[in-house]
Amino acid sequence: MRGSAIKVNHAATTIRVDDLNFGYTSEPVLKGVTFELEKGGVGLLGPNGSGKTTLLRCLLGQVGVQTGQVTVLGHDMAVSARLARCGLGWMPETGGIIPGMSGVGLVAYLGELSGMPARDAMQRAHEVLHYVGLADERYRKCDGYSQGMKQRLKLAQSLVHDPQWLFLDEPTSGLDPRGRVSVLELIRDLAWNKGLGVILSTHLLADVEAVCREILVLRKGELLARQEVDAGSRQPRQVFEVEGFGDEDTFRRGLADLGAEIAEEQRLLLVTLDLNRVEGAAAGEGQWDPAAGVNAILGVAASSDYALRRLRRRPVSLADEFYDLVEA
């Protein structure tokens, strides 16, 4: 067998899941999950026990699909999961270290198991260990690695065979803040600059915001929502913090005429505008002029002789949206 025997369908880079149902016992863990992904950073969010890891295992072909279909890199996972795995990298949350081996030995070993020639695997193991920042520790037995080093080692082993997709299960689990940032930087680099598809399973919203363009939200085995990470900034309902002086009553009436909801928070007025009701805000199907809300408030202030000291759009955090979804 030659190195080129690793057969990955480079033309097909997508992951397609169609009405996936799965359960380890009679209790279903995944219920009718359907989605399709193109390469890029994708966050898989959900509370504990929502089926994130199980979904990743289905995508890897480690558990059999009971009903529905999973197609990864052009391979039906019920038929040719092994071929698909040539193009997939997996970083498990727990364990994932084979004791008694050096870092470079472990990564090269797993490279060989992926079908790489021994010398290529060893050479590549050195490269990816440099990339993840373990160059100086690569000859040490991995049993003695710190938690942060183990996470990096697991990332390295998932990269050694140059996969097209990386499935990362809680990659920042157990890391100190600095270690977390550096691991997220690596993942972001892979997803944004190196052309790898990354599915990041986590319950840490900040990790998803740092790395992903898109999120899938799971709850109790069901795909609850799918949206882009910065979709919040493109929602028609926008909240503004307003502070000023002058004829506040007229200003409030003007805003009410725009359909705005007004609340008070300390000295601030919290103005919630629905851009659907603002003239000239629409900029296409589901698109709004980002400046439309600000311009509308400025217009009302000018016409009501109200001097603005502060006008700032309050960002909608991913956390707010996530909790709204999950708790809904």
Binding site: P92, G95, P99, V128
Partner: protein, 288 residues
Amino acid sequence: MPVYDRGYTHWQPSDRRSYPAWWVIARRGIVQPWKTKGMLTLLLILLVASWVPAIVKGGIVYFKLKAGDMVDLVGGSWTSIEPEGFLNYLDKQHFFVFVIMAIVGAGLVATDRRDNGLSLYFSRPLGLRSYVLGKTLILLFYYALVTFVPALALCIFAYLIAPDAVGIDLLLLTPLRLLVFCALTGTSMSLVLLAFSCLGKRSIFIMVWWTVMVTGTKTLGAIAGALNKGALQLLDFMGQYDNAGTFIFGADATLEVSRFLSLAVVLGWTGLAIWVLRSRIKPVEVVA
């Protein structure tokens, strides 16, 4: 450009040869025990000790062939260069087989289970068969080191000093018998030990179970033999292999039970081991 300036680069497959996963697993498993001083010392002592009987038998065979009747003093089938003499020799190697397989094999699957290694293995393009084949070959290698290899060396030595009449037998038939017997027995024992190994997560417990299995059933078999309870000898785990192996060596049964029954028991153990391996080795452990 040095690697630390290059960042992440995509791999360009070369024309070098790559090996199947089972070969990679077997090679690593065979080499790994030699990398720690303690294991290296233990294995060397065991291997040297396991070759002592072969050297002693070689010496006796030499004197028997050269000095004729004088060696009637050390008679018995153990010193024979007939096929059953080699079977007898393999029977006496059971202790070394038991110890070396326990040391090398107890943790083969248990450690992977303990450290979530199975998840890593099965995230690669390999299946259960490749994994089990690789692990079985590790055990077969060490099994052969204490059985087939010294027996074959004895065979060649006996051929070199034997009269022409028995030469062909020693050169062709006996090695073939040894090969078939050791391959079948070694594979079956390896599968049984692997099945034990995948039932736990700590090597030490697997070793204890293996010890109970081998020595306990041996003791029961011996007691049964002494009490003339032939059927109970079926409990002797390792004894069944030799009794069934008499087919291959054309020798008389070594136990008081039918060779067919022994063969059935061996096949039963092997089938059970395969069933256990299939049901226990999974990338995902479900705790009900």
